[in-house]
């Protein structure tokens, strides 16, 4: 679906329209452009070449009831490394007309929606990852007293085209009781999502229509909350080595329990989740697409999300799917838990000192589903609550402490086990420990400096890493940074080092960034979604503005 001329027409139409508009009717939007000159790249397609991704979003508000929304994307001369090959040239990426009142909303065109926690459906955009799995169709939502209802149907966007499968469903939520001026309430929800994909070239020995539903219950009170969600997906062919199997046919299900305890200064949160064959795509053959094309649901890794260079090496990716690679590597999903604790040590106490301190603890453990797996006959028999091979475990402790008006720091310790064999289907297991010191010093006026050092200790895989970073804020608007990580005990290469230097300038709702350096290749994760990226060295820029 290429709509270049149509898009240009629309842009001009809306601009013309808006110049006659009253104050209640106005135009707004955003512009983002990210470009890289690849001085060196592991990928020969990019070596010594320039690539850029540009997004222009325009919205028009009419009488505070209607919003017209258009986004064009430009990939010139080609898309950045590791974005889908289908993203090329300029095209209209999303377009929608929305009508909105307090209780009723109607959308025609691009739909972003999430049912419950996203186990059945989540459509969203993440430019950093090149994800936009929005639907193209109709959606309406209605809210009346205790009931909230969403109905939708359409096709799914697949880069600059739309996918084969039809998708339709509803989400409902009912408030059983809700006490005013307190946290106390009880909610129940029910969702359905159907995916109809009937390719003309093949007749599957299972239904073309795959049905999925989920039910959830959510209890909240002032100091405690508890919720449970169950989801089921009907029988469907398992995708094995990129082919939809006609013999290996399984249904899927998910259980998620979450509970928390809240007291002033203390917060505890616990989640248990079991996923069995829950990957869901609007096009079956896109299963496991590295660009998340046609993915319908969101099943993120439930682990601490890290923000430092070394703690981001070997992070967990959720394992919701069936994978029979060989008789020694068979998976049907994942089971595990995560615990978070937050504690505020008060000011003027023995441990807290003059300024107090904040502590957070995270513990997580994820395993394969335990059971009898039969490679030859493509079948398994699972223990419902059995923990199979361990995929991942982590314990981390973070302490944030202010020492004076002008100086504060963060100390982070992480202990991690990562089963590369089972998670990435490669070789090895990695036990590692990481330590990070992140220090911020406020200087005169608007100036401040940040200094961080980090170390990753491991006897496995590529052995030890060391890293440091410096950031200097010349003013609130302008800053410069330098960071470097070195794998100083690597046995295959001589101390691979990844250093980056960058400048950042921001003013109101605009930001401009320029950086030069070498990026580590391998599995990169952002927002719980991971992808392999080749190593490269180059000059990057980024412009973001909202208007």
């Amino acid at each position: 679906m290429r709509l270049n001329k149509f898009s240009l027409f629309l842009v001009f139409f809306l601009f013309t329209f808006s110049s006659f508009a009253q104050s209640n009717n106005y135009f707004y939007g955003s512009f983002e452009s990210n470009g890289v000159y690849y001085q060196e790249s592991e990928s020969t397609d990019y070596d010594k070449k320039f690539a850029s991704n540009t997004y222009l979003n325009l919205k028009y508000n009419l009488n505070n009831k209607w919003v017209f929304d258009l986004q064009t994307e430009t990939y010139l001369p080609k898309q950045l490394q590791n974005y889908s090959d289908l993203l090329e040239d300029t095209f209209v990426s999303t377009f929608s007309i929305n009508f909105n009142t307090n209780n009723f909303n109607f959308t025609a065109g691009t739909i972003y929606e999430q049912f419950g926690s996203g186990i059945l459906l989540r459509t969203w955009e993440d430019r950093q990852l090149g994800i936009n799995n929005s639907l193209w169709g109709l959606r309406s939502s209605y809210k009346k007293q205790n009931l909230r209802l969403v109905l939708l149907g359409g096709y799914q966007k697949k880069a600059n085209t739309i996918s084969e499968g039809k998708v339709f469903g509803f989400d409902s939520e009912f408030t059983v009781y809700d006490k005013k001026d307190s946290y106390s309430n009880l909610l129940v929800g029910l969702s359905y999502l159907g995916r109809l994909e009937a390719p003309h070239y093949v007749s599957y020995p299972f239904e073309d229509l795959t049905n999925s539903f989920s039910a959830r219950i959510d209890y909240n009170s002032d100091n405690f909350y508890l919720n449970y969600e169950y989801a089921h997906k009907s029988e469907d062919g398992v995708v094995k080595f990129n082919v939809v199997s006609e013999t290996f046919i399984k249904s899927g299900n998910a259980h998620q329990v979450n509970a928390g305890l809240i007291k002033d200064g203390l917060g505890l949160d616990f989640t248990f989740r079991r996923l069995e064959n829950m990957g869901f795509y609007s096009e079956r053959v896109e299963f496991g697409s590295p660009f998340f094309e046609t993915t319908l649901n969101y099943l993120p890794a439930l682990t601490k999300q890290h923000d430092y260079l070394l703690t981001n090496i070997n992070v967990y990716q959720s394992q919701p799917n069936i994978s029979f690679q060989d008789p020694s590597l068979m998976k049907a999903g994942e089971i595990g838990f995560q615990l978070d604790a937050y504690y505020n040590i008060k000011k003027e106490t023995f441990l807290g000192g003059k300024y107090g301190a904040k502590i957070s603890l995270n513990i997580s453990k994820w395993n394969n589903l335990k059971g009898n797996y039969d490679y030859e006959s493509e079948d398994y028999d699972l223990d419902f609550l059995g923990f199979g091979e361990k995929y991942f475990s982590e314990q981390s402790l973070e302490i944030r402490k202010r020492w004076s008006q002008n100086f504060n720091n963060i100390i982070l310790f992480v202990n991690r086990y990562y089963n590369k064999r089972f998670v990435e289907e490669k070789v090895g297991e990695i036990n590692s420990k990481m330590l990070v010191f992140d220090n911020t010093l406020k200087l005169n006026g608007e100036k401040s400096a940040r200094f961080e050092i980090q170390h990753l200790f491991t006897e496995d895989d590529k052995k030890n890493w060391f890293g440091y970073g410096l950031e200097y804020n010349f003013s609130y608007n302008f800053s410069a940074y330098f960071n470097s990580i070195v794998n100083y005990e690597n046995e295959l290469e001589d101390k691979p080092t990844y250093s980056n230097f960058g400048l950042s300038f921001s003013k109101n709702a605009s930001k401009f960034m320029l950086s030069y350096g070498k990026q580590r290749g391998g599995l990169m994760c952002y927002g719980g979604v991971c992808r392999y990226v080749p190593e490269f060295k180059g000059l990057s820029f980024s412009i973001i503005t909202s208007f």
Partner: protein
């Protein structure tokens, strides 16, 4: 290619010069209780609002909110303003929001923008992103956070109050 780039550039310039987003859109947003409210309901008082878009995994966002929290009591004596910390955590980290806010003893109201409906409607690309609004009218917005910047933000707020 150049024709297209010129066109894009032109559209952008037109847009920046002639127009800008004036109001916080009135869309439904989730509360800690899992129920929904609307932005115009939340911003209906005749006071100034700071809307800070953040996430539990965003270190500078938490630095900004920690810093605002430190000066909040002192400043709210003289200034008539309210802070909404709008979490953009999705299903991966959303459950962590309430315990984290309690563990930090933040005094602000928190709203949950789990699938980024408000973030998208306000055309926000990067975090942290902070908006000053009077009722639902947008007066000022900025991206990023540098240590001490919370004071600059509050100065801006004072200027608006004096006006």
């Amino acid at each position: 290619m150049f024709k297209k780039l010129i066109l894009l550039g032109f559209s952008l310039l037109c847009a920046i010069n002639l127009h800008s987003q004036k109001f916080v859109p009135n869309i439904p947003i989730e509360t800690f209780k899992g129920t929904y409210t609307t932005m115009s309901k939340e911003l209906s008082d005749d006071s100034y609002y700071i809307l800070s878009f953040w996430a539990t995994w965003c270190v500078p966002c938490i630095n900004e909110l920690d810093a605002l929290n430190e000066v909040y009591d002192e400043l709210s004596k003289d200034l008539n303003f309210k802070v909404y910390a709008i979490s953009t955590d999705d299903a991966r980290t959303k459950r962590r929001v309430r315990p984290l806010v309690n563990g930090k003893s933040w005094k602000f109201d928190v709203l949950l923008d789990e699938n980024h409906d408000l973030k998208r409607a306000l055309n926000i690309s990067g975090l942290p992103h902070t908006i000053i609004a009077k009722q639902n009218e947008i007066l000022h917005r900025r991206v990023g956070y540098a240590p001490g910047e919370e004071l600059d933000l509050l100065e801006k707020l004072k200027d608006y109050e004096v006006e």
